[in-house]
Amino acid sequence: MPKRLAVAVAATALALAACGGEDNSSTDNTKAAQGEALQKGVTLTLWTMPNSPQPKEDLQKMVAPFTAKTGVKVDVQEVGWDVQFDRIRNAAVAGEGPDITQAGTTQVPFFAALGGFMDLSDRVEEIGGKAAYAEGIWNTTQVQGQEGTWAVPWFTEARSIYYRKDVLEKAGVDPATAFQDLDSFKATLQAIKDKVPDIEPFGAPGKKAYDLVHQVMPFVWDNGGAELSADAKQSTINSPESQAGVEFMGDLITSGLFDKSQLERDGTQVENQFKGGRLAVWIGGPWVLGSIDRAEDDTWSEEARANVGVAPMPTGPGGKAYTFVGGSDLMVFKNTKYPNEAWALVKFLSSDQTQIDYAKLLGMFPARLDPQQQVGDSSENHKAFFQAIQSGRTYAPIPQWGQIENAYKTRFGNILDSAAGVGTDYSAATVKSQLDAAAKEADGLLAQSAG
């Protein structure tokens, strides 16, 4: 069913994109926003995804001060992650949708290329522009090779290493150096395996996880590999460096340091395994940190809850530690009847205090540097995430990325499966052939749009 849905809606999008060109002249966003009074009593519609425990109410509360101050009402509508991609695309091509939407950082270039969104270049200076954001995060608002700023970063996540302090102690490993580089990372897992037999050293999700590529790419980057060439014209996922990165993960499985059963789970399910005390080390985002103090979160076992430590990602042979940085941006629809009011809301959501409050509610990080720093200073564990964000990396901002990521995801999944003994025998040749196939698919996708 989902496949049929995807095919049908892809057809919808293509057809509409083909015929939607002419009548998009309606809203002219170059109008200077400054000084124009906002219309009181109008209602803006804001699409949001299930981010926090009570997504709709939480955000509705968050924007209440905005309504009180400006008289502009906000109707928050919740769109599930399963349907958000199709909904936003349909809204963009059909011109029938909300005023503002949340969008995943890696989706922004695709949506922007549809042409249904406002170029915010003239306005972003009002909130500090590029300088107010970490570089990796600002990049998510751009489309490579194209002028324009299509989104404003809203909240941010980066991945770091979570570990169990008590387990490390039992294994006799010093947390300060345990995850310094890829070698010590592996040695730490080995020590846990040898000395603490009642817990699995490490685990990560397999092909069911939406974020499998985010899990693997840091190791590829560490080894000097990349997902695409610098000009984003060609896939480099089958380069020797990239292969070394993918093999690092495969080798963890074959050497018994990686709990194979986790490959059957998705990201949140593996997270719950760590929280439930079944995994000693796990790579995850900041939202887990926020849930430690929440007593009603019963996925935590008492032992795990009391012993969480966070370390930055290990450095690779190149001497740099990479991590994936993501999160969500806000995009304003071109067809909005109230561009100034919509921008005012984006501005409000970008103010320091709102950024901190909302990020805290989500267990995420604010998108802007200043509030980010404040949250980073709040504890030792938060600091690790703050550092991760500053050196965080994301993918090339090109419209085809989503499809390319899917192609990579399937191949990475196959490789990890084969390392776990499912399907083809695991060997360097297997990895190479899977990565070659991934690169071929990616090149095909890149060529399509060029032609």
Partner: protein, 278 residues
């Protein structure tokens, strides 16, 4: 002796198949009575169930709205489809008219086209109507009722036609001799006799609309979203409320179960009647 043994064996097999078919539902109900923590660790505690998920599911997702939308849209669509099909099916069963055969074939023919092909034209049509006329079909109950009615009516006509053929003409003719006109005979004599067929048609249409996702995902945005859309909101990027998802599964299965058991008597008759004639 051996015949008895075979019978016993078949009985056992029946129970086994039944148990297999019911086990996912049992699992759904049991999981809905656990906490997320127990679910994620696989440490089910069947002796101390909690109804926590059933109370919390209404707060974390606006499930009431989805449930209400589903009930309104599915009931209205099933009613319309059944009513139209009863009239059309009767006409096709009783009257010879020019184009009758072609109409019959055409109705069946619509079923040969994959439903998803209609998505694009319907979507574009709805959006165009919304932007250029006061006719509100995009993201409204009316729009979804129209779509589901249109989808199920052809099958329903086919169903109903066979039911009417099975009813002896003598019954209506007797009524018409006694002073009823054709329509009176249809309403007073034929429809009651075809009640099992009407109920079966209604329930099938209702169930079809209850589960439908493809169209409702594309044709609604907020006002007319049904359960298949809403139930996905329990799964976020950063958290999965599995117990609540299971609870929502139980809650959305209940109306269907009730509808099924309440009409079971007619439903079985309807299926067997259709089977013999078809």
């Amino acid at each position: 002796m051996s015949a008895r043994l075979v019978n016993r064996g078949l009985d056992a097999l029946t129970w086994l198949v039944l148990a297999l078919m019911l086990s996912p539902i049992l699992w759904l109900v049991l999981s809905s009575l656990q906490t997320d923590g127990q679910l994620s660790r696989g440490a089910y505690d069947l002796l101390s169930p909690t109804f926590d998920a059933f109370t919390r599911m209404w707060q974390s997702v606006d499930f009431e709205r989805y449930l209400l939308n589903s009930l309104i849209i599915c009931t209205a669509a099933a009613l319309c489809a059944t009513a139209f099909a009863a009239c059309a099916g009767y006409a096709l069963a009783r009257f010879q008219f020019r184009g009758g055969k072609a109409l019959s074939l055409g109705v069946v023919g619509t079923q040969l086209i994959p439903g998803s092909l209609f998505l694009l034209p319907v979507f574009m049509g709805f959006v165009w109507l919304k932007q250029n006329t006061p006719i509100a079909l995009f993201d409204t109950h009316l729009g979804m009722v129209l779509v589901y009615t249109a989808f199920f009516t052809p099958v329903a006509i086919y169903f109903m036609r066979y039911f009417f053929i099975a009813i002896p003409r003598d019954l209506e003719e007797a009524a018409m001799v006694d002073g009823c006109n054709r329509f009176g005979a249809f309403v007073k004599i034929v429809l009651p006799a075809a009640a099992p067929g009407l109920v079966a048609t209604f329930v099938y249409a209702f169930l079809f609309a209850w589960d439908e996702l493809l169209f409702v995902a594309a044709l609604t945005q907020e006002n007319a979203e049904t359960i298949p859309i809403g139930i996905r909101n329990f799964i976020g990027n950063y958290q999965e409320r599995t117990a609540q998802l299971m609870a929502a599964g139980v809650v959305s299965t209940l109306p269907v179960l009730i509808a099924f058991f309440a009409t079971q008597r007619w439903l079985v008759k309807g299926i067997t009647a259709g089977a013999v004639k078809g």
